[in-house]
Amino acid sequence: MTPLAYILAAQAADPEVIDRIPSGFSAFVLPFTIGVAFMFSWIGVGLIRLLAAIPKSDRIKFAKSLFIPKTALKNIKDLFCDCLFHTKIWQRKPLLGYMHSAIAFGWFMIIILGHIEVALFVPARLNVARGGLFYPIFYRYFVWMNPGHTTLRGAFFFFLMDFFLLYILSGIALAIFKRFRSIVLGMRHTTKPSLADRVALYSLWLIFPLRLLAESFTADLSGGSFLTVPVNHFWHFLFGDKLWFMPCWWAYSICLGLFFAAMPFSRYMHILTEVLWILLRNAGVEPHHPRKGVAEAEIYACSSCGLCLDACPMNVQKKNLKYSSVYFIRFLRRHNEKKINAIADKCLMCDKCHALCPVGVNAPSLRRAQRATVNNALPYDYSYLSTVGATATSASTLGRATASLRSAPPLASQSEAPVPPLTVPRVAWVAPAKVLPEATNKVLYFAGCMTHLTPRIIKSVEKVFKTAGVDYVFADRDGGICCGRPLMLAGKTEAAAAVIEANKKMIEESGCDTLVLSCPICYKIFKEEYHLEGIKVVHYTQFINDLIISGKLPVQETDRKLVYHDPCELGRGCGVYYEPRAALKRCGTLVKASKEYDESICCGGSLGSLTLDTKDRSKISEASLDSLLANDPQTIVTACPLCLKTFSEAVSNSKNRDINVTVKDFAEVVCP
């Protein structure tokens, strides 16, 4: 190493900062430079591949979105809030939010400030050819403060750099603490780190303490503030006048290099991918494949923070942790085909992980896309549904049971005598749906399959309509076609499209202007996928609330204590939280559940899961029930036939015999 005194003599005497090494290079920067160069080339290639995998129309949409002022503003806001400040985590778990934002925002500020310092004091070094890649990072090593020439401006930056370093260190301290006692930061479960995660994690823990060490060792030469200077004095006190600082800078550089080299294979990839994902998300581009294109950005934007572990209703049992979104995404990254499919099928699709995700990774939609890769190809034969009245074709294969039928008189409904025997199809699959009576009224009520399985809802909805004098047509009184949402959730998108087409035709031909649905599952798909021009699609909670407000439906206030359960598809799925509560407040005292609104726990009956067994489901029901019973309500009110059914069973099977609560549908409570 060149003697320091020699270099100093060569400098002009005046400037505040002296670039003490003319070459602007020292061998210790190599680990960092190699690591970061590797990371950037990896990401560059990845970015090109990713963009190439996005369909052209989406690519154009994405490019355009960057220049639409509204989207651009939202991008900026989201980038700051989601990537740097982590406002979503702050809102839920302040300590955890502090930890994340300390590391993210603090680091960001140190990098920015480092570059500003270089730009102000040694602008030539910003040039990549002259060390621009590493110089701002190791600025403190390369410069010498000209004693007696320090300005307020310089001191200001010294202060800021020390401040943000301390800020980060506090975050790191919390992070280390969290590894051992996550519950203190509000997390019951945390993810298990993979090997690359561990390498990156431990280097990340070391980077900033080492930076403090390195900068404090050189603080008497290159300057410092309230943190580095006292520490520097301490070292002098400990080791005497001669401080051997090179090992610290080497260690600092090696840790940085290791971190960046491990980054593409670790959870920390999210630091950069998040940016791309937020831009794509705000552009409204959706994944078409569970792994390629947009999905890839989404997968790599997952920070593996594990907030979804506590969110997932399946995790009331520890054995189900492996089905959480964070692991689903990890296996997607690793292309572990077998595990991916098992996990994708297990999910209840309650969307809570999506709602609580700090970066808004839509894992349920990825799971759906994954299901589609398998299930779309499954052959089902629906042809029989259109063979109306063709008993003879299968007569030869009839067993003993139907043999006796053939000689028997035809089994037809009494009201419509000349119907062919036994074969009146329940649904006409994609065949034209039945024509409804022309709606002189403008309200069409579609109950859907699930409501048909809970006839008391139909009874009470019809009672509400009659009481309020609503002129309506009951679209599927004698049964109708599935809305398509269950098929969609199962990944059978093509089959769902066929169903949607048939239903859409039926609704459009009815001439209604309002479509009322009593099932949130139907509501979501009717609202999102049907694109019914000129028809207002409302959930019955909204419709009934309007009836109450307009005075058409009188309600009686009772002193019953009610608790409202937010059905997944209605709350998180469609954002309907207000109307049911508004109506219920007029019917009784509405008490709180321990988890509600977007944190509401799935009842466990969800159609979303393809493989979760009854036992696991009942555990989820119990957890959800416990949350609802937090404030001793007398009645649990829900606005979903599936939740109604599930909770009714859960209450009657509950091990807790003391619970004395009835489960009722929204319409039943409003119009008893």
């Binding site: 029989y384 549904l385 008993t391 299968s394 294969t397 009839l398 067993g399 003993r400 049971a401 139907t402 006796s404 039928l405 028997a408 008189p409 089994l411 037809a412 409904s413 009494q414 009201s415 036994l422 074969t423 009146v424 199809p425 329940r426 649904v427 048909h452 399985l453 809970t454 006839p455 008391r456 139909i458 009874k459 009184r477 004698d478 049964g479 067994d613 009854t614 009942s618 059914k645 009714s648 069973e649 009657s652 099977n653």
Partner: protein, 351 residues
């Protein structure tokens, strides 16, 4: 040997066991939580396969148990295990010191309200197998007025994971066939349909009544579960089901739908099980010690089980089980119980 034996449950199992044990010379105390002895048998009109009146069977059971100390309207308040015996406090204030306890708590019928898609309690024209028996017994039910078309839905609360009932209830298939015949006898012009998923007619003569139902009575059997039921404007029922043999969905309008509610572990039996901390298996019925080889001993020494407390059983099976339980009790009270010195060792070896 005048050991006290407490029998919990005055249904067929409890009655038969108390008759047997009394004959062996024991001092039997029978308790029944309802006002009347006989359990579900007392509510039934006729029994499969040969349609003997239930009253006749119950009568002979009651005659057999004559002389047994019997408390109706009585439940167990507390049970304490003493050294070898049990100190049982009853709800009528009496305390019994019993050397053996036989739990014959039977079953509850599945609450058909839980299967909401079938509309029990919502639609007027839906009833259960028990309701139909009550009609046969009393001759009146507002739901039955010359029904033209009657359906029987099998497996309501049996073999239905979604309803939380995995096991087969054993008796409903034969009961449905019996009731279908009886309905046809009462209303010869009615059309009767049975919606089944499997017909489990395993017992002696069961197949005979099944064939008779088809040949002589024209009852129609449709293989497929009822999916859902809705009500028409005129109060009739629209039943949607699938004929899996023909591979076609079907709709049928009915005047009456009878739900074959299955057997569930009895709630009061469970309460007694809780008092005793007795092991319950996944299906909700009590676990027996020694598996199929010895089906009447509970895991707790001195506590015996009989009848539907250990799973669905037909009446003959229940009676056989009760007799076997009586033998087990006797063996315990003569071979193990009196040997105060070696009691613990003997229990270890032979319980």
């Amino acid at each position: 040997m005048k050991n006290n034996i407490l029998i919990i449950g005055g249904g067929p199992a409890g009655l038969e066991a108390s008759a047997q044990l009394q004959r062996m010379g024991y001092n039997v105390i029978l308790i029944e939580k309802s006002p009347k002895l006989g359990g579900h048998l007392a509510k039934w009109d006729r029994l499969f396969p040969d349609s003997v009146p239930a009253d006749e069977v119950l009568g002979s059971l009651l005659r057999g148990a004559e002389g047994v100390k019997c408390f109706t309207d009585t439940d167990v308040r507390a049970i304490n295990r003493l050294d070898k015996s049990y100190n049982v406090r009853l709800t009528n204030g009496i305390t019994v010191l019993s050397d053996a306890v036989l739990v014959a708590s039977g079953f509850d019928l599945f609450d058909a309200v839980k299967k909401e898609e079938y509309g029990y309690g919502i639609y007027d024209q839906v009833m259960t197998n028990a309701d139909l028996e009550a009609y046969f017994k009393t001759g009146s039910d507002p739901r039955i007025e010359h029904p033209g078309r009657i359906g029987f839905a099998h497996c309501v609360g049996s073999r239905d994971e979604k309803a939380g009932c995995r096991s087969c209830s054993k008796v409903c298939c034969a009961t449905a066939v019996k009731q279908a015949i009886e309905v046809k006898q009462a209303f010869p012009k009615a059309e009767v349909y049975c919606f089944y998923m499997d017909l489990r007619l395993f017992g002696r003569h069961y197949e005979d009544i099944y064939l008779k139902a088809q040949k002589e009575y024209g009852v129609r059997f449709i293989r497929g579960r009822v999916a859902e039921v809705s009500e028409n404007y005129d109060g009739t029922l629209l039943v949607k089901a699938e004929d899996t043999v023909a591979g076609k969905p079907l709709k049928v309008t009915l005047d009456l739908l009878v739900l074959m509610a299955g057997m569930r572990p009895s709630a009061s039996g469970k309460a007694i099980g809780d008092l005793l901390e007795m092991q319950v298996e996944e299906d909700g019925y009590f676990a027996v010690r020694g598996g199929i080889a010895a089906g009447q001993r509970s895991p707790i020494p001195g506590i015996f089980l009989a009848g539907a407390a250990t799973g669905p059983k037909t009446l003959p099976e229940t009676l056989a089980d009760a007799r076997a339980a009586a033998m087990e009790v006797d063996r315990y009270l003569t071979e193990i119980f009196p040997d105060a010195k070696n009691y613990k060792q003997l229990v270890k070896e032979r319980w």
